[in-house]
């Protein structure tokens, strides 16, 4: 088990709903190996986004553990989660990934610099590969949706995270652009050797990943 990149055990999460507590996650366990890509699918409300947020240190779990390279992100405090977000994990969201007040170049290098391992050569390579070289001085609001998601992917990989989390990264794009962005993301993730956990409800996307995990009513189906 220790050789796995990510080990999730018995994660539970309950939210306060309008009509009493609602259990979203009910003892979810799974693991992900180094360099492995996993599609997390399930119906709306199955808890897949919440699970991703917990693993990404963006949300806390009520019980269970999620070890990333040995560190349990569930049991550390706010500052600890922030440190893991900076150095180990990186998230690509469906939209609004970018910092509006920084230009493309600064957005790409932002997380890497926060983690203290920015590599200008690698940044340039990424920009080149993502087709962003001509847009480095632009601001996010000046880019199309597809371009914005490329920047988000560039930023994620520039930090060389061990684990990339993606939450419907192509959900807001038309199918053609979505395929293009997904292809780029998979290529680059594979090249860096990171693991990928991608929440999606798109069959097209799920089919292109190594493995698939389906959630239903807060449990692995």
């Amino acid at each position: 088990m220790t050789k796995d990149l990510l080990t999730v055990e018995h994660i539970e999460k309950t939210f306060a709903g309008a009509e009493g507590p609602v259990q979203i996650l009910n003892g979810v366990s799974f693991s992900l190996g180094h360099g492995e890509t996993l599609a997390l699918t399930g119906e709306s409300g199955s808890g897949k986004s919440t699970l991703l947020h917990i693993i990404g240190g963006l949300e806390t779990a009520d019980a269970g553990s999620a070890r990333i390279d040995g560190a349990d992100i569930v049991s550390v405090d706010d500052a600890g989660r922030a440190a893991l977000r900076r150095g180990t994990i990186s998230v690509v969201f469906q939209q609004f990934n970018l910092i509006p007040s920084l230009d493309v170049a600064a957005n790409i290098s932002f997380q890497a610099r926060l983690a203290g391992r920015s590599d200008p050569g690698w940044n340039a390579t990424l920009s080149e590969r993502l087709g962003l070289s001509d847009h480095l001085r632009k601001y996010p609001e000046q880019l199309s949706g597809g371009q914005q998601q490329r920047v988000a992917i560039g930023r994620t990989l520039a930090a060389r995270p061990k684990l990339v989390l993606a939450d419907e990264p192509t959900g807001n794009l038309d199918p053609e652009t979505g395929d293009e962005v997904l292809t780029l993301m998979l290529e680059l993730v594979t090249e860096t050797g990171a693991g990928l956990l991608c929440v999606t409800h798109s069959e097209r996307v799920a089919r292109r990943l190594d493995r698939r995990l389906t959630l239903s009513r807060g449990q692995v189906a």
Binding site: V91, Q95, P100, S101, L102, L114, A115
Partner: protein, 798 residues
């Protein structure tokens, strides 16, 4: 339809209570400061008008004879048709120290001014022996158990004075039938012969001809009014922000309503009605708050004016209907001004424009450039007003142009400064910090403009008042170099006093004056002795070599600053005094006197004005003996106490006035700054919800909410500091305009500008603290925001 439309519009406020609160608070505080200051002004003016008319009848002309005026003379004047009322005064030694008794005749005091109007109907205890003494409440306590007639506490009597019926007073002072002054209360009958035919020995004095310290109160009121106006402007920035946001957010609602068939004019009408309701509501709150402010500050203002007039005035406030109306009026007017642009935009809004919500806060750099151009235009207007100059109005236009220009230029300047500072950033955090500060700027613009105005006003008015105080005190020290100043009633009395004191004092310096024309204007010329007192102390602001010798020899004159500035006459020029083309030897500062004035050597004066009375003189003497000598003179001669004045008492009085002025100015400073702080708070609260797209990615990438909150606090402090940096030169320019332009136009004298860096440090710190306090609540909210709120940014749920 109209009702449905109105309820659709008003529902916005239910969903955005903070915006509503912002609007109401902004308008209410603006109205409060404005109407509070107006109330203080009005109340103060009314108070000293009443005080000067009633108590000593200071402002009325009066007759004196140099000794007691016989009762028969008084009756003869009344029976000839002259409206005169008698006054007998004197000092009694009491357990509580010397008590000045003022004996007045309530029957002949001017109608509506006699203090008996305030007594109970049918109560004759004031007139019937043993009579009654009207004294200040503290004097009642001090005199407890005294054998004097019964005391009655009356607000408005000076602490060491007692007012009594004249017959009672004459009995107490053992001066039956003797009258010191006859005060003229009104016009004489058509058939009345001249006073000189009936009582040839009486001399008429008209206090309104004398040096008029009331000019200083005008200056005081001008400050207060300017402050009130600035405070109101500061408040309007808040209102403008809230209204602008409310209109922007409701654009879709407007479109829907229009699409449903509501006409443009009905929509604008509904919006106007809505604003009117809000303005009246906030205005009412504001007037009430203003009343509170005025009630709290009035005791200090009353004390200030008491200092100026030497008489207590009412320290409480009457709430007048006109006050409510004007307060509500200014609130409606202010709302109208603040809403004009928004209403205009709404009226011109096309029905089917793309419903792309362009966030109002994200004004582009182009908008900033537009504002900067407007700022340049304002600056140009200010410069033109300065160049044309020559009037009070030009001074105020200059002031307004300067302040508005500075406020409009603020966003671009801050944007550029933040851009420059961002180059210093090393890590990604500081890079984001600077970038985000620039991003946030448009949303904070109005609040920062308000802060700029508040700080500039603080620096400007504070510098002016402090400079004025420093100059005025220095001038008093120079001008009042003699220890004692005496004005006798007659020449004979003057000679007798001189004879009595001549071997007990160091020097007697005659002060003679005569009205004449100075360079074609009516003015006063003074004859002064050649004495070291003048050579060493007289406050000359321009002089020619050997000036005192030539003046003493009668070969040159000194003129006051008012005359010099008005007629542009300086040493080397000549001024016509009567028939004499007098060379000007020097110019002296002369605060508190609106008239042209000149000084010439005593011998020359005696030649030119042999008829001029020789009644006044200054006395140089060791300070220990002053009190005893003053008392002795008052005991031996019939002389109203205010005609023999102790230099130190005058100085203490003046100093007291300025301390009080400071109290009021300081209180208004804090209030104005408070309003600006409120503007920052409400702006930050407003933009905090719109800022989540900025915050969420940074948080997701590995910064804690606590770190982000700390950065927000730092940004607020930084913006306040930068604004203060700009406010400093603006405030100094403001004080320069007040001292060197407005004062010259309004009062005829120019005051040197003194700098008070320590005050600036304190103010800068205060500005940062205010901004931190304002930012604290939004920062706390940020540090505790649930992650799910931030995560919504990335999801479709938004």
């Amino acid at each position: 339809m109209i009702r449905a439309g109105l309820s659709a519009l008003l529902s916005h406020w239910r969903r955005h209570p903070i915006q509503l609160l912002t609007l109401i608070i902004g308008l209410a505080t603006a109205t409060a400061l404005w109407s509070g200051v107006q109330a203080i002004n009005a109340e103060a003016r009314a108070s000293y008008a009443a005080a000067s008319a009633t108590l000593g009848d200071n402002a009325r002309p009066y007759l004196t004879s140099g000794g007691p005026i016989p009762h028969a003379t008084y009756i003869a004047l009344r029976r000839a048709g002259h409206q005169v009322t008698p006054l007998t005064e004197g000092t009694l030694d009491t357990e509580a120290g010397p008590l000045r008794i003022l004996g007045l005749d309530p029957f002949t005091q001017a109608p509506g001014e006699t203090f008996l109007d305030g007594l109970e109907p049918g109560d004759t205890s004031f007139l019937a022996p043993p009579g009654q003494l009207l004294v200040a409440p503290q004097t009642v306590r001090a005199l407890e158990g005294s054998a004097l007639p019964p005391r009655m506490a009356v607000e408005g009597v000076a602490p060491d004075q007692a007012v009594a019926d004249i017959a009672i007073a004459q009995g107490l002072l053992n001066r039956p039938g003797e009258i010191d002054r006859l005060i003229i209360t009104g016009p004489a009958s058509l058939t009345a012969p001249p006073i000189s035919d009936i009582a040839p020995g009486l001399r008429l004095t008209d206090p309104s001809d004398e040096v008029d310290t009331a000019r200083l109160t005008d200056s005081f009121h001008l400050n207060l009014t300017a402050f009130g106006l600035l405070s109101f402007a500061v408040g309007l920035f808040i209102v403008r922000g809230a209204i602008g946001l409310a209109f922007e957010q409701r654009r879709p609602v407007f479109r829907t309503l229009r699409a449903l068939g509501l006409s443009r004019s009905v929509l604008i009408g509904l919006l106007s009605v809505e604003l009117l309701i809000l303005a009246l509501l906030a205005g009412a709150i504001g007037v009430a708050l203003g009343w509170l402010i005025a009630a709290l500050l009035l005791p200090d203002v009353a004390a200030t004016l008491r200092g100026l007039y030497g008489a207590e005035v009412g320290g409480s406030l009457t709430l007048k209907p006109v006050w409510w109306v004007s307060g509500l009026g200014i609130a409606v007017l202010g709302t109208g001004i603040a809403a004009l642009a928004s209403l205009w935009q709404t009226a011109r809004m096309p029905l089917l424009a793309p419903a792309r919500p362009r966030a109002w806060a994200l004004a582009s750099e182009r908008a900033m450039l537009g504002q900067a151009l407007a700022a340049l235009a304002c600056g140009a207007v200010a410069l033109v007003a300065w160049a044309l100059g020559g009037s009070l109005l030009a001074g105020f236009v200059m002031l307004g142009g300067m302040l508005l220009g500075a406020a409009l230029a603020l966003p671009l300047i801050l944007h550029r400064v933040l851009g420059l500072l961002s180059h210093t950033s090393r890590g990604p955090r500081s890079e984001w910090f600077w970038g985000d500060a620039r991003q946030q700027l448009p949303g904070l613009t109005l609040a920062l403009m308000a802060l700029l105005l508040a700080l500039s006003a603080n620096i400007g008015v504070g510098t002016m008042v402090s400079s004025f105080r420093l100059t005025f005190i220095g001038w008093l020290d120079q001008r009042l170099a003699a220890e004692l100043y005496i004005r006798a009633e007659t020449d004979t009395q003057a000679r007798e006093i001189e004879a009595m004191i001549s071997d007990r004092v160091d020097a007697i310096l005659p002060i003679r004056s005569a009205p004449t024309t100075l360079g074609g204007q009516p003015g006063e010329v003074y004859g002064v002795a050649d004495h070291a007192t003048y050579r060493d102390h007289w406050p000359l602001i321009a002089r020619s070599p050997g000036v005192w010798d030539t003046v003493a020899a009668g070969a040159a004159v000194l003129i006051n600053e008012q005359l010099a500035r008005r007629a542009d006459l300086w040493p080397g020029d000549q001024v016509k005094i009567g028939d004499w083309d007098a060379p000007i030897g020097g110019v002296y500062s002369d605060y508190g006197n609106p008239q042209p004035q000149a000084m010439i050597g005593l011998n020359r004066f005696a030649q030119m004005f042999p008829e001029a009375p020789d009644l006044r003189f200054g006395v140089r003497m060791p300070p220990e003996g002053i009190a005893a000598l003053r008392r002795e003179i008052l005991d031996r001669f019939v002389l109203p106490a205010d005609q023999i004045s102790d230099q130190r008492a005058i100085k203490d009085l003046s100093l007291g006035i300025f301390e009080r002025t400071f109290t009021v100015t300081a209180a208004l400073n804090v209030l104005t700054l408070g309003v600006a702080g409120l503007a920052i708070l409400t702006s930050l609260l407003t933009i905090s919800t719109m800022r989540q797209p900025q915050i969420a990615p940074v948080w997701a990438l590995g910064m804690t909410r606590r770190q982000l909150a700390a950065l927000d606090l730092a940004r607020a402090a930084l913006l306040a500091l930068l604004t203060f940096g700009l406010a400093l030169p603006v405030g100094l320019a403001l004080s320069w305009v007040l001292l060197a332009v407005i004062n010259v136009e309004a009062f005829g004298w120019r005051l040197p500008l003194h700098l008070f860096p320590r005050d600036w440090l304190a103010l800068g710190a205060l500005a940062v603290v205010a901004a931190l306090i304002a930012a604290l609540l939004p920062a706390l909210r940020l540090s505790r925001i649930p992650p799910s709120e931030l995560l919504k940014v990335f999801a479709n749920e938004r």
